[in-house]
């Protein structure tokens, strides 16, 4: 068998009948009602946005439609018939495709082989390669079927996922936060593809919390908050502010950046770090230099996998090098390990919260010790004072509004956003001279993200040098004084925010990445 034939060709639908209709879907997890009587319908050829913060229940709902999770109650109607979607295979058979936020590709296989994995085992690879090329050209998703996946950029990997879905002739395509890793230019290309698909009658469910994208792309939006549908709207007729109100229930907070009046001196100096990659899928750092002054926030834009992990490890001390390659407040620290750099005034919030920034099974009190043990009173004569650590954790929880069951709660019991607040809080409370934060608001809800950004701004205005590494351009433009781009292991010059724009940064992100991936 070659390519699965278009499965159960759509019964001609009576005009005005939805392709997918959800009726009163509910799903309860221990301690949380993820979906509460959710109803939703999607018409053929419609681009339908599902808008909501993290934890609003969007992902659960999509997993129910895709058969990865079973609803406790409620009905799913597909092309007018009630169906029970027991697993993703059933969903695919019905004609439902899903592009996940985190790609599920094997790096050592080429594009065709990766796609074949989702198809029946007797699929002929040569014919498939031809089909891949056809489909990818038809929808403006240029792809070389022979390329190995590890050599592809993130945008290209996403195309593989989309082409994989398209080969199964879906009638409904679900995309979960598809633009979080794309440059502004790649986002525009993706939108063209999606519009073309919609014009051919494919329905699209588009999950996002980025309001301007939804306004640019979607015909209709369903807004969710706390597991419930809080409204439906035509996003083109709404303002960003009114959509935000529906999504978070109040006005979107804005950050303000006061002028720094204190003394300006170099807080963090990075002096021509070059480092060959240490694993085959790593990135080689090439001659990276940057200075972060006290009183300013510097941002490093770029898509993860362009040297971000390697650079952060070199700065935090998880990997070491020449002593003068990194200086904190003038002191060479490049040869020191992470703990010694912290002793000299460095704080660091890593991208991975569970397992790196915090020990999952340990309590918040114990996790406070991870870096705060050097604070006075927390340890003496090699013994730890867990009562003092508990007080420290408690102060952190209160000051940074961490929602949890108190300091004895295990780190893994917190939501991603709350754990992030705890880790950022723990690092800020050490009174650092330099604060490095990776993906500060990744997975954090909109309201808390604004608070976190403001916290970082305020910290910098107290004379701390703040370095933010982020994939979110809007975030960087909101809080940074200067922005540099890390692409293909090279860092561009840091440009003052008001002398650059998203378009230019996007080109830097893409241009150098493309040159490096050849």
């Amino acid at each position: 068998m070659l390519i699965p034939p278009p499965p159960n060709h759509p019964r001609p639908l009576p005009a005005g009948e939805p392709r997918l209709q959800l009726l009163n879907i509910s799903k309860r997890y221990p301690g949380v009602l993820a979906n509460d009587q959710v109803s939703l319908n999607v018409m053929p050829g419609e681009i339908h946005a599902v808008l909501g913060e993290n934890g609003a229940g969007k992902s659960t709902l999509m997993k129910i439609i895709y058969g990865a999770v079973q609803a406790d109650s409620g009905q799913i109607q597909w092309n007018g018939r009630e169906v029970s979607i027991a697993n993703p295979a059933v969903a695919r058979e019905l004609g439902i495709g899903m592009v996940f936020q985190h790609f599920q590709l094997f790096e050592t296989l080429n594009v065709t082989e990766n796609i074949a994995l989702a198809l029946p085992p007797d699929t002929d690879l040569k014919t498939l390669a031809v089909r891949v090329r056809e489909v990818s050209e038809k929808y403006g998703l240029p792809l070389d079927p022979e390329r190995l996946v590890h050599a592809l950029s993130v945008g290209e990997r996403q195309r593989v996922e989309i082409v994989r879905c398209l080969l199964q002739n879906p009638q409904l395509l679900i995309l979960d936060e598809p633009t979080s890793v794309l440059t502004p230019q790649a986002v525009r290309k993706l939108f063209e593809t999606l519009r073309k698909l919609a014009s051919e009658g494919v329905s699209i469910l588009y999950i996002s919390h980025k309001l301007h994208e939804i306004q640019a792309l979607c015909d209709r939006a369903t807004v969710m908050r706390g597991g419930c549908v809080t409204g439906g709207a035509n996003p083109r007729q709404e303002s960003t502010a009114s959509l935000a109100r529906m999504m978070i229930g109040r006005d979107l907070p804005v950050c303000h950046a006061p002028v720094y009046a204190g003394e300006v001196k170099a807080a963090l100096e990075i002096d021509s770090i070059s480092r060959p990659k240490d694993d085959p899928f790593g990135v080689t750092l090439e001659d990276i230099s940057l200075t972060v002054n006290s009183g300013e926030v510097v941002g490093i834009a770029g898509i993860s996998g362009n040297g971000q992990a390697e650079l952060l490890a070199a700065l935090s001390g998880e990997s070491t090098g020449r002593s003068d390659s990194v200086r904190i407040a003038g002191l060479p620290v490049g040869h020191l390990h992470a703990g010694q750099r912290r002793d000299r005034g460095l704080s660091f919030v890593p991208e991975e919260r569970l397992g790196r920034g915090a020990v999952p099974s340990m309590s918040l009190t114990q996790n406070a010790m991870l870096t705060a043990h050097r604070q006075p009173g927390l340890s003496r004569f090699g013994l730890l004072d867990f009562k003092a650590a508990r007080d420290f954790a408690l102060r952190c929880i209160e000051r940074f509004d961490v929602r949890c069951n108190g300091p004895q709660a295990a780190a893994r019991s917190l939501s991603g956003g709350n754990l992030q607040k705890f880790i950022v809080g723990r690092e800020i409370m050490q009174a650092p001279k330099v604060m490095i934060v990776a993906q500060p608001t990744w997975g954090v809800d909109v309201g808390a993200a604004a608070t976190l950004r403001q916290t970082l701004l305020d910290l910098s205005r107290e004379g701390v040098g703040v370095l933010v590494v982020s994939e979110e351009l809007e975030e960087l433009f909101e809080i940074c004084d200067r922005i540099a781009v890390l692409a293909g292991g090279r860092l561009s010059a840091a440009m003052p925010r008001n002398e650059t724009n998203a378009e230019q940064i996007g080109l830097l992100m893409a241009g150098q990445a493309a040159a490096a991936s050849v």
């Binding site: 009630e82 027991a86 750099r341 397992g355 790196r356 010790m369 991870l370 013994l383 730890l384």
Partner: protein, 360 residues
């Protein structure tokens, strides 16, 4: 498709209920076993678990056996928590016994209060070195410590065999592979008249609260625990992974070495081939059954000692083979690991594929 899926929130209660459940399962299986051997199970259990505790001598033997098991298991647990799996405590124990015996043999005929402490110190050094060797191999060559510690155990066994049948053999011992009997200054005193229990158990009594304090409060133990549970977090915080390896292996080597010295200078009183009835291996089970917790280990050590003594009694009074007590040890660990698996994971039943169609 995996049959076992991890539980998001393993129950704390079940983590502690697992050892009693494993003991229960062991007893049930043993019942079947005793039936198969044509021995009345109730009598067998009585001989195994009750009879030894009816005499003063039984309690004395229990303390004597539990003492090395608990001491070694405390050291091992420290490493296990850091995911450093030293399974060669038996070899470290023998090296400790060898070094301590060396002191006793070369000071034979001398008198002084310093001899016994020197023996314990020599035992600690011997065991510590035998733990340091795998630590060096791991940090230098990334050699798996489970293999190196186990293999070094056989080296220690052969070294012991050579010593007691060669240079250290008792000239007046009619060619038995054993050293001279140690003289008075190289022996721990008996604590009570007529019982074998001696002052070496005091070492364990002191070590338990000290290690408990170390585990609960020390920064070092905290670093070891972080390194074991989340290696990336340890790197992030700047805790050295190499130091974790060294401390785990050397400390467990030292405790095993002291236990070996205490055996030689305690109940055995000389260096022999059969110095240890597998304490180093049994202590691995003791550590796990005690949930790697300093107090839990005390209880599991007492239980394991009871199995040892009960096994000896059952051999004598019921003609049960000595393998029965090994079976008890093996089953206990087997059932515990099984119970642990179900505490952390649950069995996932696959749902059948159904496309339900509503009535048109």
């Amino acid at each position: 498709m995996s049959l076992l899926t991890p539980r998001t929130n393993p129950s704390k209660l079940m983590q502690w209920a697992a050892p009693p459940l494993a003991i229960l399962a062991t007893l049930l299986t043993a019942t079947v076993l005793f039936y198969a051997l044509n021995k009345p199970p109730l009598q067998a259990f009585y001989v195994f678990f009750i009879e030894p505790l009816e005499t003063e001598n039984g309690w004395s033997e229990l303390a004597l056996k539990a003492s090395p098991l608990i001491l070694i298991a405390q050291g091992l647990a420290l490493g296990f928590r850091a995911r450093i799996y030293n399974i060669g405590a038996e070899g470290q124990l023998l090296m400790g016994a060898i070094c301590a015996s060396g002191v006793a043999i070369y000071t034979d005929g001398m008198d002084g209060d310093w001899i016994l402490p020197l023996m314990v110190l020599a035992g600690a050094i011997g065991g510590g070195l035998w733990g340091a060797l795998p630590a060096w191999l791991k940090t230098r060559f990334n050699a798996e410590e489970t293999l190196t510690t186990l293999m070094l155990t056989y080296v220690a066994v052969q070294l012991l065999a050579w010593l007691v049948s060669g240079p250290w053999r008792d000239p007046g011992g009619s060619n038995f592979p054993q050293s001279i009997m140690f003289s008075e200054p190289a022996l721990f005193n008996a604590l009570f008249e007529g019982l074998r229990i001696n002052s070496s158990v005091i070492i364990t009594l002191l070590a338990v609260p000290l290690l408990w304090l170390f585990v609960k409060r020390s920064f070092l133990a905290y670093q070891l625990a972080v390194g074991g549970q989340a290696p990336s977090a340890a790197r992030y915080a700047g805790f050295s992974a190499q130091r974790t390896v060294w401390i785990s292996l050397v400390v467990s080597g030292v405790t095993a070495g002291i236990a070996g010295a205490a055996e030689a200078a305690g109940p055995v009183g000389q260096l022999t081939l059969s110095l240890s009835p597998g304490y180093g291996f049994a202590a691995i089970i003791v550590a796990w059954v005690g949930r790697l917790h300093p107090i839990g280990i005390v209880f599991s050590g007492l239980l394991m000692a009871l199995i040892y003594i009960g096994g000896e009694a059952a051999q004598v009074s019921m003609q049960l083979p000595s393998a029965v007590s090994w079976l008890f040890q093996g089953m206990l660990l087997f059932f515990l690991l099984g119970a642990d698996a179900f505490v952390d994971y649950r069995l996932k039943r696959r749902k059948p594929f159904v496309i339900k169609e509503a009535q048109a």
